[in-house]
Amino acid sequence: MATIKVRKHKLNFLEKIYLPEIFRGMWITSFHFFRNLAFHFLHAIGFKQFRGAVTFQYPEEQRPLALRARTRHRLTQREDGSPRCVACMMCETVCPARCIYIVATEHPDPNIEKTPASFDIDLGKCVYCGFCVEACPEDAIRMDTQILDIASYSREGMFYNMDELLHPERHGDKILIDPKLPK
């Protein structure tokens, strides 16, 4: 049986009497304490660039996300506010979770072939892979709302219909990006 030689740090005299090391440790912690106390104070009287803690107080204050983070879906709009979606069913086809349900209909403008009559996403099934965004030829679906707290008390509540996807702001959600212009 092989024996493992544990190499132990040999304590010198100052380390053996503990006190200098204890004061070194307490210097570090009390330095943090007083620095953070000063930062908290400055933050409270209005200097918001000072933060005494790394904590984000989540429901009130969301941590900034990278723009490429795949968050809740939205449907982009044309200039007149109608969906850019042409109901080509590419996203529905590519979706590995099969959570997109589109019903197509005629568009009144003869230049546009189709438009969705309904566009539902079951976020309870969605795996947030982002394939739908990549498959879309019209840049009509995006995942850049920065909304992460998607929760519901029922399975039905996880269904998002076309109106909720087009106008999240009408349903109490705040989105940070202009819904009209995708660029």
């Binding site: 204890i22 009390s30 943090h32 953070n36 908290h40 005494g52 790394v54 904590t55």
Partner: protein
């Protein structure tokens, strides 16, 4: 009993009552300080969610929330526990932690007209012995708590606690002997008076100045007496369950309160014995004086007493902060390291300190 004595007694009772209320509120406040200070130290925010009428007040309501939670929880008593001893243990713990404060002098004698009100619960000649004997009695709460629960874990925790407390009481007692030799008294108030003198005309004769080694031994052993990190082997809430394993609700809360009371007690003792108690350097009975004795700022007697009580409070608060910093900085000792530190380092060192103090006193005589 004549009128003056009666009014003096009433005044003393009022003052001591206010001191006890102050101690108990500080113990409650320390639960908040503990959470907040550790958070600020570790770059966190700490408890701030309890909200009353939209007010958060930096999480101060958590004190009330914690107390309400403790009071409304089930007060569980194990089936095979000794019911009487089980219910007695937390009370014993808190009682002996509280009774100790009676001997702490928290201010000079308050003189209002013809009334001389001593700001101390009981002025006994052996105040120091009284404090340490009461502190030792606190071990009974711990042992009873561990023993009466009829749980092996509690029992082992109680044994760990009792052997730790007994070991460190010896070091505490031996470290104080040097002070007794220097000041020549066991009376705490006289000890504080003696600390108002000056060495070589400028250095206050505080315990820390004349007995620095005793201070470090005392502080180490006293932290061990409070059963907090780095000496929290009797409790070790999360890993090595301690003597109050079976306790719940407010009975557990009382054990918890004892910890904070003992922290304040150690802070009071450190301030009284080593940092001049209520003495302020330069402040005499008739106001501030320069080093050569010329009056700088004359103050009425009541103002001087008030300043001294405030100074004592400030010293106690400083030591509470200091103890919290120690508690959130150091890792826990292993049990063999704990015993080695107590018996092979602190105890011989304190004996050595007594010897050296005796030699110095003899040489100076």
């Amino acid at each position: 009993m004549n009128n003056i004595q009666l009014i003096t007694t009433i005044g003393q009772i009022t003052a001591v009552f206010m001191f006890f209320m102050g101690v108990l509120s500080l113990a409650g406040l320390l639960t908040w300080v503990e959470r907040k200070q550790s958070a600020v130290m570790q770059d966190r925010i700490g408890a701030n969610r309890a909200k009353v009428l939209g007010l958060r007040l930096f999480g101060l309501f958590h004190i009330i929330a914690d107390a309400l939670k403790m009071l409304s929880k089930e007060n569980f008593i194990p089936k095979s526990a000794d019911k009487f001893l089980y219910q007695l243990a937390p009370v014993v713990s808190v009682f002996f932690a509280l009774i100790t404060f009676a001997a702490i002098p928290f201010g000079d004698t308050l003189v209002i007209g013809q009334y001389h009100i001593p700001l101390q619960g009981i002025d006994i000649n052996v105040g120091l012995l009284f404090i340490f004997s009461m502190l030792s009695m606190g071990v009974y709460g711990v042992i009873l708590g561990g023993f009466s629960s009829q749980s092996n874990y509690s029992f082992l925790g109680g044994l760990r606690a009792s052997s730790q407390l007994l070991s460190y009481e010896i070091a505490i007692g031996a470290s104080i002997v040097g002070l007794v030799m220097v000041y020549g008294t066991l009376n705490l108030n006289e000890m504080v008076y003696a600390q108002g003198e000056y060495l070589w005309g400028w250095l206050p004769k505080w315990g820390f100045v004349v007995q620095p080694a005793a201070f470090f031994i005392f502080m180490t052993a006293a932290i061990a007496e409070t059963k907090r990190i780095p000496f929290d082997l009797p409790e070790g809430e999360s890993e090595i369950v301690g003597y109050f394993l079976e306790y719940s609700g407010m009975r557990f809360g009382l054990f918890f309160l004892t910890d904070f009371l003992e922290t304040i007690l150690v802070a009071c003792l450190a301030a009284t014995l080593f940092f001049g108690g209520w003495q302020v350097p330069g402040l005499f009975d008739d106001g501030f004086r320069a080093l050569d004795g010329t009056p700088v700022w004359a103050l009425p007697s009541v103002a001087v007493t008030g300043l001294r009580v405030l100074a004592f409070g400030a010293k106690v608060l400083f030591f509470c902060w200091f103890l919290m910093t120690v508690r959130w900085t150091l890792p826990r000792f292993r049990y063999d390291q704990l015993m080695r530190l107590g018996w092979q380092m602190l105890f011989p060192l304190s004996i050595l300190n007594i010897l050296l103090t005796g030699i110095v006193i003899l040489m100076l005589r």
